[in-house]
Symmetry: C2
Subunit: 379 residues, 2 copies
């Protein structure tokens, strides 16, 4: 856990606050709006300049608004194949229209010293190319997950970062926000004793059948690559271990036009070296599942929702009682971008480097292999 | 779902009752105590006489007290290897001390016309013998789950019932109580659309390392046979289908004195013919897990706790809201025993006959095989 963000966690602020006359949402609302309203002093260094590559829903609805909450990061450039969209967004975020790039002149970013970090928010199949080109342009790169569609692409990205002497971080935003960090802390510090099992479920009912997430060549796979990766990540970061073997079972509804190329549902079980098991599920076919529970001999702790952009809730069960644990509500994207800026400024390695992204891809390939072969796969 | 109990379900009594000034527990408390205080008229037929075989914790704490809530069943005999225990319990439940049997004179039950039904509440390895002896004595049998330790024993029990022309029912009590029945109804009637996946977790931290549940010869297996069977049952009764293949993964903490002979944790995945998957877990090693969730494309519905003797809670999620669904709180054992008495009186077949018990044993053997081989097993 990074020192920067660990200090942000206010521990054990239980629901009893509600008993003091504050509604749950009310208890957090003031903290959030007060922080937003404060005249936050500039950090010791400057704010780093960011270029956002790809102006899809995630960039428009989550990443760009998050810069308002950043202390070390500011957006200074867009890269997009849609100049109309970029031109419309530029004034809202104070981006100089001259700093709007397209995929042809992308490499000229190297001539723009204002851009320190490039955030790749493109379809999965484009991650490797646009990460490597940015690294070659001398920029540090934050790349959305999954890192790429193949381990070979991931390795090429890691190698490119090494050759360029630039940072490469994968955008596992949940590692940077207080609720998931508290789950990690509780597991690692064994607050309820050693972890026995992790139960993780992520899925949603995917819409538009024409979107890139449903094209095998662009997405690399189906629900596992997009949403099941949260179940996998949770099992990995809660235990702090790497799985040694796994089983999987997949199902795709025949005739569902959304799933002509990629899997709908895939469930998987992981075994970790310490003996911890994880039972995980992933689907594009069902109503929003977004939870994980960590069970010990003494109790359990869980998040539901666990990895949504906002609205996370934590529950802790011990003895005969279940309590809600209230934690600060923070913008996940602002935290992860500031972590990247901090790493660039200080020279530290990111908490979620390319190597971790590569491991996820290797494990997901093994999950697909297990589902296909019906056999336990060693990883 | 039996007609008798189906009518008992009061549907969709949501938490909004609480908004009418009734606390949740308060809303149900009066119903329960009023029913207990009522002078319930005798049913048209007589109450059948029951013999309880085995006076362990389940009999003492759950089954015997449940007769007070039965309308068609009364306890008239005990079978026990501990005469002191039987003699102490007899006056409390109005059992004639002459109707206390032991395992030697058990077969003389055939000479006692007061006993219509024998309830076998013994360690698993004894189920077959004591069920078959009771059937040969001309009695109907309700047998605790798991039905037996091997499919061969189960088949012998089914055959014995056929030869004796007597009813054989397995004590899957959750099939007889309103919460689980409402889950089944919602799934089968597709209230939120077709079921996509069932997520079921059952486990607890087992105590006394000397108990029979931890002896392979008596229990037949570990957590799967005792508590994992609830996850398996939930997946089967919610879908109304039989699994066609499964995978599994098991772990037992080395050196834990409780688990010298049987498995601690076993997780398993089931595939049903319709394409529904179930992701299930079972453990003797962790704090109480007792839940299952059924997910569709439109929402989900769950019980947590799901299969405890009491205190079940149901939650339904659709649109953006999760609601608690309040249902009548009923004694599970009274409902299952009265179902058995009703079947004996009317000649109907029990909802949970021996054939269902045999299927569970076969599936659990396949789960053990999958965990051992690391391969998908067809069932």
């Amino acid at each position: 856990m990074s020192e920067t963000t660990k200090a942000d966690i206010t521990r054990r602020r239980f629901l009893e606050r509600a008993g003091q006359g504050l509604a749950v949402s009310g208890a957090l609302g003031p903290l959030v709006s007060r922080a937003a309203a404060q005249n936050v002093p500039e950090p010791p260094g400057r704010k780093l300049g960011w270029a956002i590559v790809g102006l899809g829903n995630l960039s428009i609805n989550q990443i760009l608004p998050a810069f308002a909450k950043c202390e070390k990061s500011r957006v200074v450039a867009f890269v997009s194949g849609h100049p109309d969209k970029a031109n419309k967004l530029a004034p809202r975020y104070g981006v100089d229209p001259k700093r709007i790039y397209n995929y042809e002149n992308y490499d000229t970013l190297k001539d723009n010293p204002e851009v320190d970090v490039v955030y790749v928010v493109l379809p999965n199949s484009m991650h490797a190319e646009y990460t490597i080109r940015a690294l070659k342009a001398g920029k540090h790169v934050l790349c959305e997950k999954p890192m790429a569609n193949t381990p070979a692409d991931c390795q090429a990205m890691i190698d490119a970062a090494g050759q360029a002497g630039r940072k490469l971080m994968i955008a596992y935003r949940c590692r940077y926000e207080p609720f998931n960090q508290e789950m990690i802390r509780m597991a690692r510090e064994q607050e309820l004793g050693p972890v026995k099992v992790v139960l993780a479920d992520h899925g949603f009912s995917i819409g538009d059948p024409t979107q890139w997430r449903l094209k095998k060549a662009m997405a690399g796979g189906g629900s596992l690559m997009d949403i099941g990766i949260y179940s996998l990540q949770a099992a990995r970061y809660v235990t702090g271990e790497e799985p040694v073997e796994l089983t999987a079972m997949s199902y795709t509804t025949p005739g569902d036009e959304r799933f002509k190329e990629v899997e709908e549902t895939i469930d998987f079980q992981l075994r970790f070296p310490s003996g911890v098991l994880a039972s995980c599920s992933s689907s594009y076919g069902y109503s929003g599942q977004n939870r994980y529970r960590v069970v010990t001999a003494k109790g359990w702790f869980e998040l539901e929702p666990a990895t949504s952009y906002s609205g996370l809730r934590m529950f802790v069960h011990k003895g005969n009682a279940t309590e809600e644990r209230i934690l600060p509500v923070r913008d996940h994207f602002a935290l992860e971008m500031d972590h990247m800026s901090e790493c660039v400024m200080s020279g530290k390695d990111p908490l979620t480097p390319g190597e971790g992204g590569l491991r996820d891809i290797k494990i997901m390939m093994a999950i697909y292999e297990a589902a296909k072969s019906g056999k336990t796969v060693k990883v």
